[in-house]
Subunit: 588 residues, 2 copies
């Protein structure tokens, strides 16, 4: 089971789809050039291929174990993490003033893809640490930033998010965890949190838990949530972190996948916590952080898809079985020559490169939203916020599909665990669930990103796509076919949008019964659009005498996405606008 | 994890979709009435719910184990199997002259659904035994029938199919297993067979292996395959079966799912085998048997879907989370009230009941094909052969989707193994692979069932659907909506058919690149058609004063299938007719 980081594909997407010229002109990135990003990703790719990817099988087999309150990771994880820290990879896209490498977020996203392709269980630890860094960067006090950020950015300390409780999953209004103010300004945190990824482990020196809890007089519901930072080890008198806080992991979940990633039930028993920002503002802070956390999970979808694709491609080249259907050989041939195996592989590739294109484009907008000049920032922010539920929702649903196709290409061998592809099918299945299920993403898209501004951002999105169609229709034969499919999908989108804007107020059940179809339609369209831009870029590079095989493959992938995947938009449109009363009224 | 056999739904399908009046009039079933079928399925449903369903968790956790050449099944399997044999369930749909209960095949299919819902691992043993019974009934000598059939039909002996070898999966031309004739008329069988379901176990008294092998002078390729019966225990001089044949299980696979079902690597070392039928006719016999084996696997797809649906429905009723989107309650409600959870549950139901409708209809044709009067038989045979790859291909692909939706409805709990739904997601994944992958079914549909008769059966199928549309368009509002969707899907089908008939000869790669989309389109249409007939039957029963809640749910399910699933046919049509050159020529 080997993995090679697809740095060339990634760099093509960064160069042509992330609005790179604007991104590299941003003040914090003024000294960064495309070659710096490439060099960093190539080195990181080598590291992940050599040090992380070989762990995924043993990680899956052994799993994380709880032994006397300590969580032990499978063999090799600690050594690999130590090297990850030593080489400074956690710091890749964090600011230089806290010791980071200072690369743009979009390059950080590419690194997130690579490490999660190598092993999603391993990748979850830095992913959660990034979440804690973002949270404290945005909402922490100066003292908190000074104390925590450097340590987290090195990776010596790791981070977690503690939201879920047994009765409070998607519904944070039901959070019961308590935070009682103490005389010294700290809070005593008590309660049980579940599904805490890397809640306890032996990789990092300390674990910084970010915990949602309620102060005694807090209002009910989501308006009474406050955010606390609750470290595993507290600072001693001499500044050393030595004192064990009164919190711990009481059990680990036995999961379908990502088994080396410890999913902890955490018990807080009057643990010392520090308020982050203001009381009762926890939900608002969560929403700020959620954008980047959800984005990162969407990138994990691309990561698993890439890994599954590489595995299936390699198997299809080697496995010899049956004569070709066109009679071109008398003997059995490698199965990659059979039309349906080609169809499956190319569908996997179209979904994988498509997901990457969407994620990288969104990454560029996230950078512009954070650091762009005033005129750009608001528009970039609204585009990024519109696209993030698509990256999360669409790319993760498609990751499950791609992983399943990967199993199918392996035939009977795919069902045997030692082959390794069943693991991707198992690992991928959490992606449309955690950090907000697909339905939650769809509610976010429809409620907050479409209805709230009366469809303004959605229409701008459609206009940008129409402009791309115009460019494509002046291109080659494939580009013209893509333009046609994009136009059909865009019209399905705008018709669905009109319907939802008209319906949501008076008949919310009908509108929201179409919310996931709307998310899938919009994600599909956004992906097809970015692949259309990718095809245009490839045409331009071809005209300049670029590598024909590489560039023609880029055009073919976009074409295949348009013919095989974009055509699904019509069915989604029909589901949204023609829900039918049966769906709303049938007895269940 | 409880399971209740949906006997009322099954009986509705048998009564209205299997052409029951013609089936019960068939000579071997002349003493059978609908109430006999109902009574048998109700009793079998109770047995499976009480004795088999509780095994599935322990079966999955423990798995089958190989201990010193013996295969040991998880605790409880042996006791349950003994009771299964004692109650005579193996004999349900086998002829009375060999000790069977003599119920029609379509009732046997319903029983196959029930036992596989309860536990697919357990269900595989009787399923393979049924395959061996069919094989020997059709191709065995009178002496072989006399010797084996009664023992297999009681279930005291079980059966296996030995086709696959490491280099010969889908491609049986590569089978190398040897059969050398001996002076006493037997054959010495030598070779390695892999993926042998229930190849070795401790449930039955003896195991009857059906083995594909080559005699020394046999031609190369599939024309040199012969079929042998190779029992685990040979008859001793006194007629007792005591002598161990020289064959055995050398290892078991470590699988993604159906872990209690032992998947054996079998070693034959000059084992005594008996030729079945004629030499070099093995492939032809295999094709005869394949129809029922593939049909049974399609029914397993319905079975897993039903189990996943029951589990998700029960969870969605209990789990309280978030306020309703229409503001109808101030507090959190059971998630079944949220529009997207409803959508997912109703989609699961539509796919499950749809799959059952298709399977039961096909079962009726299988009965008519076997025992019908001369005038009926040929037409029934060609319909059954046309529909079987759809039952296998479409119902199993949809089973994976339904199982995945079942995980999604459980949110984070779905990813925890103890919840039990991840097992369905794992178990289901083998279904589109074994007994011929979906691509193999699609090749069979396109090559043997459509091109070979120049589309005659396919056009007859379309005409029958058009007739149903006519009836539906005289029905209620839902029936009229269904008629509309059916007509759209039928036109997509006939257009695809015309294209494939025109293309396959000159450009087979293009035609076969559309074979799986064609299978999915045709399966979708066939399912929507049967659900349309189900809606018509429900309307008629309603008019006679039948149970309104039950019958209206039947109409709603058909309506939801039409609005949510049938609409996918347009994308498949586009994939088939508009493949695009990129799919055929892109560098991989």
């Amino acid at each position: 089971m080997t993995y090679q980081a697809p740095v060339r594909d990634i760099m093509f997407a960064i160069e042509h789809l992330s609005q790179w010229p604007q991104v590299e002109a941003l003040q914090p990135y003024s000294e960064i050039e495309l070659d710096d990003a490439r060099a960093a990703l190539e080195e990181f790719g080598r590291f992940c291929a050599e040090m992380i990817a070989p762990l995924s099988t043993i990680g899956d087999t052994e799993g994380a174990r709880l032994e006397n309150g300590r969580v032990v990771l499978p063999e090799g994880y600690k050594a690999a993490y130590d090297q990850f820290v030593e080489m400074g990879w956690q710091s890749l896209s964090h600011p230089t003033e806290h010791g980071g490498m200072g690369l743009p977020k979009v390059v950080g996203a590419a690194a997130t893809e690579i490490v999660n392709s190598a092993d999603m269980s391993f990748g979850l630890c830095p992913l959660l640490t990034n979440g804690a860094i973002d949270a404290l960067s945005i909402t922490g006090s100066e003292a908190q930033k000074a104390f925590y950020l450097d340590k987290l950015i090195t990776g010596r300390w790791s981070g977690t998010m503690n939201l879920t409780e047994p009765q409070a999953g998607s519904d944070l209004s039901r959070v019961r965890c308590k935070a009682v103010p103490q005389d010294d300004g700290t809070y005593a945190i008590s309660g049980t949190k579940i599904f805490i990824t890397f809640g306890e482990h032996d990789l990092s020196e300390n674990i910084v838990h970010l915990v949602l809890a309620r102060t005694p007089d807090a209002p009910e519901g989501v308006r009474g949530l406050s955010l606390f930072v609750v470290p595993k080890l507290l600072e001693g008198e001499g500044g050393e972190t030595a004192l064990r806080n009164t919190l711990g992991c009481v059990s680990l979940e036995h999961k379908l996948g990502v088994r080396a990633s410890p999913t902890a039930v955490m018990e807080y028993n009057n643990a010392t916590g520090y308020l982050v920002g203001e009381e009762n503002s926890g939900l608002r802070y969560m929403f700020i952080m959620m954008t980047s956390a959800r984005y990162a999970v969407g990138v994990q979808g691309v990561a698993i898809a890439e890994r599954a694709y590489q595995h299936a491609l390699s198997y299809a080249r080697d496995r010899v079985q049956s004569r070709p259907v066109d009679g071109s050989a008398q003997d059995a041939v490698p199965i990659i020559q059979h039309p349906d195996v080609r169809r499956m592989l190319l569908r996997m590739r179209a979904l994988t490169e498509g997901g990457r294109a969407l994620a990288i484009a969104t990454g560029g907008w996230l950078d512009l939203a954070e650091h762009g000049p005033e005129a750009v920032r608001a528009e970039a922010q609204s585009m990024a916020e519109f696209l993030v539920p698509l990256v999360k929702g669409f790319c993760t649903e498609r990751a499950v599909e791609v992983a399943s196709l990967g199993v199918q290409i392996h035939g009977g061998m795919g069902f045997i665990e030692e082959t390794g592809v069943a693991q991707f099918y198992r690992d991928a299945r959490i992606l449309p669930i955690y950090e907000g299920t697909t339905a939650i993403q769809a509610n976010d898209l429809l409620g907050r990103k479409v209805l709230r501004d009366g469809g303004r951002t959605a229409r701008r999105f459609a206009e940008m796509i129409a402009a791309t169609e115009g460019e494509l229709s002046n291109g080659g034969a494939a580009a013209q076919r893509i333009a046609q499919r994009l136009a059909e999908a865009r019209l399905a989108f705008t018709a669905s949008l009109d319907h939802l804007l008209a319906t949501a107020g008076q008949d919310p059940n009908r509108a929201y019964a179409g919310s996931v179809p709307f998310l899938m339609l919009t994600g599909n369209l956004a992906t097809g659009w970015q692949l259309g831009l990718s095809a245009l870029a490839a045409e331009a590079e071809l005209a300049k005498g670029g590598d024909a095989e590489f560039l023609q493959a880029k055009i073919a992938t976009a074409d295949i996405f348009a013919q095989q995947v974009l055509v699904e938009c019509a069915a989604e449109h029909s589901r949204i606008t023609d829900t039918g009363d049966s769906l709303l009224t049938a007895t269940l």
